[in-house]
Amino acid sequence: MKPNRNVLPGQPGPRLQQHWDWRAAANFICGGSGGGLVFFAALAGLAGVDVRAQMAAGLALAAAGLLCVWLEIGRPWRALNVFRHLRTSWMTREAAVALLLFGSGTLAVASSHPAAQALAGLCGLAFVYSQARILTADKGIPAWRHARCAPLMLLTGVAEGAGLIAATLPGELHAVAGMVIALAVLARLLLWRRYLDGLRESAAPVASLRALAAIERRFAVFGSIVPASLALLATAGALVGIAGTAIVLAVAGVLATAAGGLCKYTLIRRAAFTQGIALAHHPVRGGRRPAPPAAPGLSKA
């Protein structure tokens, strides 16, 4: 049995969500990385590389994430009900895309047919996109629902996919792979910064900003600048024909992926503060002048 969560309110300010634990975070971490990996595997496959292993690994990652979610939901034996709301629910869409992803991915692994690979790659990207949209649809969590959250989630999936596949590619693709990693992590860093700026501007909970700020340095240095530098180094090395670029790419890729994981774990588990309350007007009790509105725990826009 799963333990009960503390659902009693303590203070009226924003509170950290208590219902999605490491298992939900694992779905976003593994799903994003897996989807991204499948996407790049498809690209590499279309470029003629044998990507069956990478494709399979991507699918396995996505499956592992979904397995975690299945372990988390309250009524796992009713899990198939998840398909009942395609019209508006991104969770339903994630599940539907996952079906397509595993179908096309399995076919791609089995056949290496370019069409299957292409479809799987698109599904991988769609899967990441669906996950990103799950978060933005959650209006109760200001850090998730922000418009800049979804692009960040999508791009980190891409960066993680690029990072995971790079070292496994043939040497002639290392230069390109390095470029892709560098571009992806730097673009991710840009989106991350814009996302944080956006949160501040939208008066997100102070506690959310604090949780994200806590990883900002690690994310920027070890998750972005170092892997970008290493990736560019690998690109340069590949271009001049120095050996060992695979190792450098591997290190860059791992850092890029780990940073994505850290970002998502933080977002799901540590920065997921609720909206809190907003008292737009204090009640006027008899002859007293009304006080200014109150929304405790939110940063000032």
Binding site: N6, L8, Q17, G74, R75, G140, Q275, A278, L279, H282
Partner: protein, 215 residues
């Protein structure tokens, strides 16, 4: 058309939690689960301080984000404005919990009772295992409202078909009724007072209106 809404006059509320307790009894919610509660909110610095009491529950939104994200359609928006949950369909994914800006939803996975693991008689007779591991929340006392037509009664006017919290409120802060009926208590109250809805900027269209001053 009928759209049921609740008005809460913040000028009246004293934060006594009578509605919280009445709801817990009426809906047999387990310890720690409060489908409604009254927040005790202080702002300002000594000596210029305001303390207010803010009843919170499901807002039965016109555009409920919980229903949008629900992958199973267990959460539904009804024609009369109520947002309901089908416990037999819900998978307990908690996506709705994340979607609700009002922290109105709860999920518990184990049966707990007021005095430990063994239910007392009043709990045993109403224990419903279907409520475990699924999302639950204020239903506007749906069963009462659904019984109204058959009994020829009007929710908000006749206590028998009015939510328990509204009935219980000792300060008379709460009213319930059909906002599409211009003669209902809620319509008349809203016409003669200044009021707001919480987080209206999120586009949820809450059905709970907080009154804060006369018009």
């Amino acid at each position: 058309m009928t759209r049921y809404v609740m008005t809460i006059d913040l000028r009246r509320c004293v934060g006594c939690q009578t509605c919280t307790a009445a709801c817990k009894n009426a809906n047999a919610t387990p310890p720690g689960v409060q489908w409604r509660r009254v927040l005790d909110l202080e702002t300002g610095e000594f000596p210029d301080v305001r303390r207010s009491f803010l009843p919170m529950a499901c807002m039965h939104c016109a555009e409920p984000p919980c229903a949008d994200v629900c992958p199973t359609q267990a959460t539904q928006k009804r024609g009369d404005g109520l947002v309901s949950i089908d416990y037999d369909v819900c998978i307990g994914c908690a996506n709705c919990v994340m979607a609700c800006p009002y922290e109105a939803r709860s999920i518990v996975h184990e049966a707990h009772f007021a005095y430990g693991d063994t239910p007392i008689a009043s709990e045993a007779i109403r224990f419903d295992p279907a409520r475990l591991s699924v999302a639950t929340k204020c239903s506007f006392c749906k069963e009462r409202i659904d019984a109204a037509a058959g009994k020829g009664l009007v929710p908000g006017r006749d206590p028998e078909v009015t939510p328990a919290c509204v009935n219980s409120c000792i300060s008379g802060a709460m009213a319930f009724g059909d906002i599409d009926d211009p003669d209902s208590t809620v319509s008349r109250l809203l016409a003669t007072t200044q009021h707001f809805r919480m987080h209206e900027d999120l586009g949820t269209g809450p059905s709970v209106h907080y009154i804060w001053d006369h018009a």
